[in-house]
Structure formats: structure tokens, C-alpha cells
Symmetry: C2
Subunit: 395 residues, 2 copies
């Protein structure tokens, strides 16, 4: 007599968290330095100094103001600063009224699902994808369907067209992608925009595009994430400071509704109403002030770039097939046997904790999170080499 | 084609926020000290020194840990501390596994509604009640019904019995109450427990009791809030540190599922699953650590007690009929004309901002929030006197 889905979501352990829990237990058993834990997407580099400085400075502010309620959509000054920051980097025309400050990207995505989907309507996304997308869509009474990738991990648009029907209310993309690290190309975004405009014409209703961009600043070698609202007017950008400022536990991010969306005011209201019904009052007030002071800054992401190079080159040299990641802090590695869970189990024997990709909607891979120390990556190479040897991958 | 209710909730301005906005505008017009703004329930006293001390201390901790993800239900150490704190004050047997740390009471209530209600099931509450209860219940697909109060603002149990049907899945109470300041008596709670047990027998299903207690520590003259789980086994306590520690913007509180609830593990899982689907990842990590260090402490609530006495006595002396508040920081005043909105409008002419009670599910009253300076209360007395004079109330 309890809601079946809530019960299931509360009971189910994500396979990522299970592997991480195994890792913790294993570390106490055989020693911290003997386990190569690539399971969690938890930023490994500290928040930049501006965060601690901002906190220290704010401690001398009036505590009644500092810790008081803010407007539901966020402090006016923060909303203005975010709009200006986006406009500066993208040449867009966001106004503060289009920015809704959220308790992280998850809260923003849940607000989009609840605020846009009618019961039974469909959200399309691109595999591989973050498993919580399913929970957010179904929690809102909708259905999530996933489009497979091409060889280069761009969307397979033939498959996309087959799934894009009258029921499609929104499309959700994630760039750079968790778990593959791939950045959606301008070509892919242009094609996506075309197809969505055609679908709107064909079905006579708006199809919203949600661009989930928590890894936007985590790109390497001069790669850049294209400005998604440039390619399609009915876009909502979902952002989090979790990765760029290494603040994942603080829950702070924002939604930005495109100024070129025709019904932007209604959509903004619906997102706000959905957030309200989910029990959001305002994003944490102290952290709103911190991120306002740190806007445009990032943690030292050169660490992730060095890790990526180490890991990508190291695994390739040992015969593994890897998707080349332009961003985020994940390497997506082809499982040398069809069952990625079996491969992950075998990797465990070498104390390598790699997440099988089944929960990401695409079987046959493992996710290797490289938000770890470079030193651990170096030490893990003999284990990867032994694992490769078992599969006869070594060149 | 957007969800109707989300759109409506996003568009509707609460009459409290509207009055507060009017107040801000009016203050810039005629001067801060000329407007007697009793509209908002925003704590007016600073967080206790332990909060700033805890923050200062935490700033020297490892930032990766400090700002990192925590388990979804909260830091194990905080959950243990909360369970021990409750057990110490109540003699109960809460365990850490029954504590779920939330982004404030609103998040906790939304999780309860989403995690307990099936579509069309009913939640009963007691008028007057916090208007967001309706939004949370309807957001979860349920229906909220309100039981009127007796003369002494305890529940009218005859009316309650009439509303308690097979459809009733949960009952939601708020003690001390916003907007009346009334504490539910042990007698009322005992009677409520009896009726709920009888209903469970009669209908063959569990009826959950949710005790919303953000004002638990804000009681005066030795009044105490009875331990609600003592009166009924199937109870979930919903708490927030917003008022006790003056941290309303930081969004930190908890749910505590009674150790005497038979299906407590399933209920806990369902609340956790519902929170997950609403986009909650974990309560803000820094604030989890702060409240752990401040558990059992409160802001200086003697200020509220002095305000209550000033306001209650001042208004009574001027002929107003007031509900005597044992707790919270609200005075509920009978409107001298049937239409409380008209009364609130007339009060505005005297620069008195009083919230009409219609949105609280009980017409004919105004809510006077006394989380303001005592000095403003003193300065407001001539205005109340003039207003009383207009209605011929002066003795």
C-alpha cells in the first residue's frame, strides 16, 4: 500500500554505490593503497581558494540575512550575475528572470520533468546516460526512452527519428557526457535542432530540449562545449557547481530558460511550481552567496586532464578500446567480453573497481572515473596489464 | 500543454509574500520605521554563536570531504547524533537507520506525501494550517482535507471523525502551530491516537501520522510539546533547524520514523525513494556538519517570548480577541469584521501588515508574525489602537 516506485527507488542500491561500498570494505581489509577505486564521480580536487575565502568573508556578515530565506528562484544578485556570466561567454540574452537557482542539477532536472511532462508523455535521451534520469522522469509520471550512440558516441539520428513521436515532450542531453566523457559536436546539435523543429511542426506542440551541463568547464586540450541554446530555441540549460567548484555535497546549481523560447514565462513558472511541489523553498542561502562570489572560476581541472591522458594512454597501450573523452572525468572502456558485469567482477580480482555500463543504458562497457589521484592511476597500471593479459589484449 | 498545477503553483503569489512585497515597497516610500511589518515568518534573531563557531572551525577541514557528497540519508554521525538527541529528550528508541536528513521541513513533508500517498488518497490536517501543505499533497497526486478547530484551537474531533474515511492515508499535524501558535495538548494527541488506531482496525490499512515540528523548541513559560510518537506508533516526526537555529535559508532538517512503526523499514525506503525522485541527493553537506555541532542548542528565543507578551497583552488591552500562543512566533487575531481580507486592507491604512487567514484554511482571522523587534511592536501600538478605535473595540 506504499507507492510501488518510491519503495523500489528507496530500496535499490545503485551499482555505483554498491561498488564503492565494496571498495571501502576492501580498503579496510587489505589497505587503502592496494585497491584501485575508480567507482565514484566525486570530485577529487579541492574547491578553489575563492570558495574558502568567500565563506570566511561571509562569516562576518549579518547572520539573520546570511542564513535567511531567499526568493524561491534565488538571490536577485546571483540571478543577475549568472545571466551576465552566460551572456558574456555565449553572447546570449539571458535575463535574471530566466534564471532559477536550484539545489544542484538533480533538483533542476526533477523540476524540468515535473514541470514539463504530463502523465504518459515521453522524454528522450541519448545512451549512455546518467541512471537517475529514469527516476526523475518516472517520478514525474513520464517515460524515459534512450537513443543508442553511433561508433563515435554521437547520437544515432536514425534511431532518434524513430523514437521521436507525438508523445515526445522533451529531449534531455548531457554534454560532456557521464559516463563517456564525450562532448556533443556542433554538427550533432545542429542536426538535433533541425529534427526537433520538424517534430514541432509535424505534431503541433513544443518539444523542449534540456541540456544537462554539470561538466561544462571540465574539457581539455582547448575543446569547448557549444552553446546549446544557439541550436534550438526551446532549450533549458541545467547547470551545477558540483564539479566546476568541487562542491557536490552543497547542492547548488541553476536552470536557465532560453530567452528565445516563445513560452519562456510559462515554462519558468511551471518549473518554479514543480520545484515548490517537490518541497524546494530556496537553494541553500550561504552557498548562493559563495557561488556568486566565485562565478567564472573553477577548481584546478588540469589535474583531471593529466589523469585522463595517463589513463587513456595507459589503457590503450595495454590493448583496451576506449572512447576518447574530451571532457568530464570518466573514461568509457569497451568490455573485452560481452557481459560488462562479468568483466567488472574479473577486474575486482585485480583490485580494480570499474562500473559496468548496464545501468547507463548501454551494455558492454565499464566506466572508469578518473577523479582520483594520478599516483593511484600510475600504481593501477600493472593491475590493468594483468587484466588485459587475461583477455589476450596485450599487443 | 504544461502541467496545469505546476503552472498555477509557479504563478500564484502567496498572499504572505505579496503583503511582504507591498511592505518593502511601502518602506522605501515612507521610511523603514513608519511601516509595521508583521507579514513574514522569518526568524529575526541571529543564529546562536555555535553556528558561526562551527562554520569557522569547519573551514580548516579538508574541503574535498567538507563539500563532498554525503549518503542520501545524511552523514552517519549526524543521524546517530539526532537519534541520541531525540532519545535523550523523549526516552524513545530511535536508531540512526530511522533518521533521514532533509533539505528542511518542506523537503521532508514533500517526501512524506510522495512516499506515502497513492493517487487519490487523502491527507487530513487541522485548520488553521500552513498553505504549502495543499501544494505538497496535490503535487504527490493526493488530496488534502482540513478539520476545523474548536474554540480553544484544539482539533474538533467530531469533525475529524467525519472526515476520517477509508481514503485517509495520513494525518498531518503542526505543533506548535503556524499560524496560531497553539501547542496540541496531550489530551488531543491521546484522542487522536485512539481514533487513528480505530480507523486502522476499521479499514484494515495503516494510517500514518506526520508531526511537523519546526517550532518545537519555540515554546514559552515552561510549556512543552508532547512527544507525538508516544501517542501513536505509526508516526513520522518532521523537523527543521530553520527556527530553532535561525537557519531558514540553509534548508536543513530531518525525518524521524518511529521505532514503534511496524513497517518502518519499508516506510523509510519509500520516503528515501520519493526524495530521490524529487531530485534530492543529500542535504547540504556543510550545514549537516554545522547542525551536528549545534544539536540541542537554540537561538535566543527569550526575545520571542518577550515579543509575544508585549503583543498579546497590547492587543488584548485594545479590545482585540487573540488566540493565546504557547509557542512559535505568531499571534492569531480574530478579525473584527467577517472578511479578514477587508480587515487586513483597513490595517494597511495604519501601516500595519497583517496576513488574512483565508490561505490558512480558516477565514476570519489575521496572522501577526512577532519575529520582529520588540521596539517595532512598541511603536506599532498607537496604530493598533487607532485600528481598534475604528471598529469600536477600545474598552
Amino acid at each position: 500500500m506504499l507507492p510501488e516506485k518510491s519503495l523500489a527507488w528507496g530500496r535499490s542500491k545503485s551499482c555505483i554505490r554498491e561498488l564503492a561500498a565494496y571498495g571501502s570494505a576492501r580498503k579496510s581489509e587489505i589497505g587503502e593503497d592496494k585497491v584501485f577505486d575508480f567507482s565514484l564521480g566525486n570530485p577529487s580536487i579541492p574547491a578553489p581558494p575563492c570558495v574558502t575565502e568567500a565563506l570566511r568573508e561571509l562569516l562576518s556578515a549579518d547572520p539573520v540575512q546570511l542564513h535567511g530565506y531567499t526568493p524561491a528562484g534565488g538571490l536577485p544578485s546571483l540571478r543577475r550575475a549568472v545571466a551576465e556570466d552566460l551572456n558574456r561567454r555565449w553572447g546570449t540574452a539571458f535575463t535574471p528572470e530566466l534564471i532559477y537557482v536550484t539545489c544542484g542539477a538533480a533538483a533542476g532536472l526533477a523540476a524540468c520533468m515535473h514541470g514539463l511532462l504530463l502523465p504518459g508523455e515521453e522524454a528522450l535521451t541519448f545512451a549512455p546516460f546518467f541512471p537517475e534520469y529514469t527516476v526523475f522522469a518516472e517520478g514525474a509520471g513520464g517515460v524515459l526512452k534512450a537513443v543508442p550512440p553511433t561508433e563515435s558516441f554521437q547520437p544515432d539520428f536514425a534511431a532518434f527519428e524513430a523514437l521521436l513521436t507525438e508523445k515526445t515532450k522533451l529531449v534531455l542531453l548531457n554534454t560532456p557526457n557521464n559516463p563517456s566523457g564525450v562532448v556533443l559536436s556542433a554538427e550533432s546539435l545542429a542536426r538535433l535542432g533541425e529534427l526537433l523543429r520538424a517534430a514541432e511542426q509535424r505534431y503541433g506542440h513544443t518539444v523542449y530540449l534540456i541540456s544537462d551541463e554539470p561538466y561544462r568547464e571540465l574539457v581539455y586540450d582547448g575543446a569547448a562545449v557549444p552553446c546549446v541554446p544557439d541550436f534550438y530555441d526551446n532549450t533549458i540549460v541545467c547547470y551545477s557547481f558540483s564539479k566546476s567548484l568541487s562542491l557536490p555535497g552543497e547542492r547548488i546549481g541553476y536552470l536557465a530558460v532560453s530567452p528565445r523560447m516563445a513560452d519562456r514565462e510559462d515554462v519558468y513558472a511551471s518549473l518554479a511550481g514543480a520545484a515548490r511541489a517537490c518541497g524546494y523553498v530556496n537553494a541553500p542561502s550561504l552557498m548562493q552567496r559563495v557561488v556568486e562570489k566565485c562565478l567564472g572560476q573553477t577548481a584546478d581541472i588540469s589535474v583531471y586532464k593529466a589523469n585522463r591522458d595517463l589513463l587513456y594512454n595507459g589503457l590503450r597501450e595495454r590493448g583496451f578500446r576506449c572512447v576518447y573523452p574530451d571532457g568530464a572525468f570518466y573514461l568509457f572502456v569497451k568490455s573485452p567480453e560481452p557481459d560488462a558485469k562479468a568483466f567488472s567482477e574479473r577486474a575486482k580480482k585485480h583490485e580494480l573497481l570499474l562500473v559496468p555500463s548496464d545501468d547507463f543504458g548501454l551494455p558492454g562497457y565499464v566506466r572508469v572515473a578518473y577523479c582520483v589521484s594520478g599516483e593511484m592511476i600510475r600504481r593501477s597500471m600493472p593491475a590493468f596489464e594483468a587484466l588485459a593479459g587475461e583477455y589476450g589484449l596485450l599487443p
